[in-house]
């Protein structure tokens, strides 16, 4: 019964997607402009909550910034213009995707570097294993005889359970 309920609810939950904090009065009448505003605000950090975008956050500052983004788009700014406006005031921190510059090289390059390093180690280990001589497929007659004598010898007394 519970499994059935879950099976019925799961598609609904998946279809719901992330909830946005955009309030009814905020959306722009022009759907194309509003879509751009939504995309932009998903990339802009709410500086109060720090790990949410202004699209997600219900903080008052996030609401003000959403309004600001829409005002500037309506005034004819392009996306980069809106981003630059906020970066000039809040710094790169306002961007959820940090720009590539010397201070962020470690941030951007660490994942591929770790991947390359790990891949290299794995490759070396793999090749070593392949180079190791394979075991002989069959035991030789001498080996068979030795196994037989070893098995015939009385072993140590078995432990009583």
């Amino acid at each position: 019964m519970r499994a059935l309920l879950l099976a019925l609810l799961l598609p609904l939950l998946l279809a719901a997607g992330p909830l946005a904090a955009v309030e009814p009065g905020e959306a722009l009448p022009d759907p194309a402009l509003e879509a751009r505003a939504r995309l932009l605000s998903r990339e802009l950090r709410c500086l109060v909550c720090q790990n949410q975008s202004i699209d997600d956050s219900s903080a008052p500052l996030a609401r003000d910034l959403r309004r600001l983004v829409r005002e500037r788009l309506t005034a004819g700014d392009d996306d980069a213009g809106v981003r630059d406006y906020l970066v000039a005031r809040y710094g790169d921190f306002v961007l959820l995707r940090p720009p590539m510059k010397p201070a962020t090289w470690a941030l951007w390059l660490a994942p591929p570097a770790v991947l390359l390093l790990g891949g290299g180690v794995a490759l070396v280990a793999f090749r070593r294993r392949r180079l190791r001589p394979a075991l002989p497929a069959e035991l030789s007659t001498a080996d068979r005889a030795r196994v037989a004598t070893l098995l015939a010898e009385p072993g140590p007394p078995e432990r009583q359970p």
Binding site: L47, V48, D64, L65, L68, V87, R89, D92, F93
Partner: protein
């Protein structure tokens, strides 16, 4: 060669550990200001009537001053208020206020109760001027030099321990 292979993971670990350890010392709540050494932003705010004259960009500069973003609804503002009073009264530091998203009557009551350290107060009813300053919380305080540039930013309430560094900074700017 083989021994080197065993040392490499330890080196990688040490590198990552050092990087993360350095991160532990940083306070994630204190954001670097993008406004340091830039001129004060363009803004023009109406006055808090009966208390202080209005505040706009042109009022800044000429003198080393503080710009303090405050609101009566902000509890830390209440805590830092005595320090602002002391800076204004004892050190003669001009302090300009940006009253963010406040009801004018509440702001007047706040200043009547605790005293008014501000030379001018701009009423930032919608918070837009605060965004121009790169403010993301209340209170925040900026030190403005004689050329009207932002030289220092303090996020959150001033505590007694913040008084000496800010006074030293003001002295240096006054001389320089």
């Amino acid at each position: 060669m083989r021994r080197l292979l065993y040392i490499v993971p330890a080196l990688v670990f040490a590198l990552i550990a050092a990087y993360l350890l350095a991160g532990l010392g940083l306070d994630p709540k204190t954001l670097p200001s993008a406004m340091i050494d830039k001129p004060a932003p363009a803004f023009d705010l109406p006055a808090l009537a009966d208390v202080a004259p209005a505040l706009k960009t042109a009022d800044l500069g000429g003198e080393v001053a503080l710009v303090n973003v405050f609101a009566s609804w902000c509890v830390p503002c209440r805590a830092e208020h005595p320090i602002l009073m002391r800076l204004a009264a004892e050190k003669g530091v001009p302090i300009y206020g940006i009253n963010q998203k406040d009801k004018p009557d509440d702001a007047r009551r706040f200043l009547a109760q605790l005293g008014n350290p501000y030379r001018r107060i701009g009423v930032d009813a919608d918070g837009r001027a605060s965004i121009e300053w790169g403010v993301y919380g209340v209170p925040e305080t900026f030190v403005i030099d004689r050329a009207g540039r932002i030289r220092y930013r303090h996020v959150g309430a001033f505590g007694p321990q913040d008084l000496d560094p800010i006074l030293a900074m003001i002295e240096r700017l006054r001389r320089g």
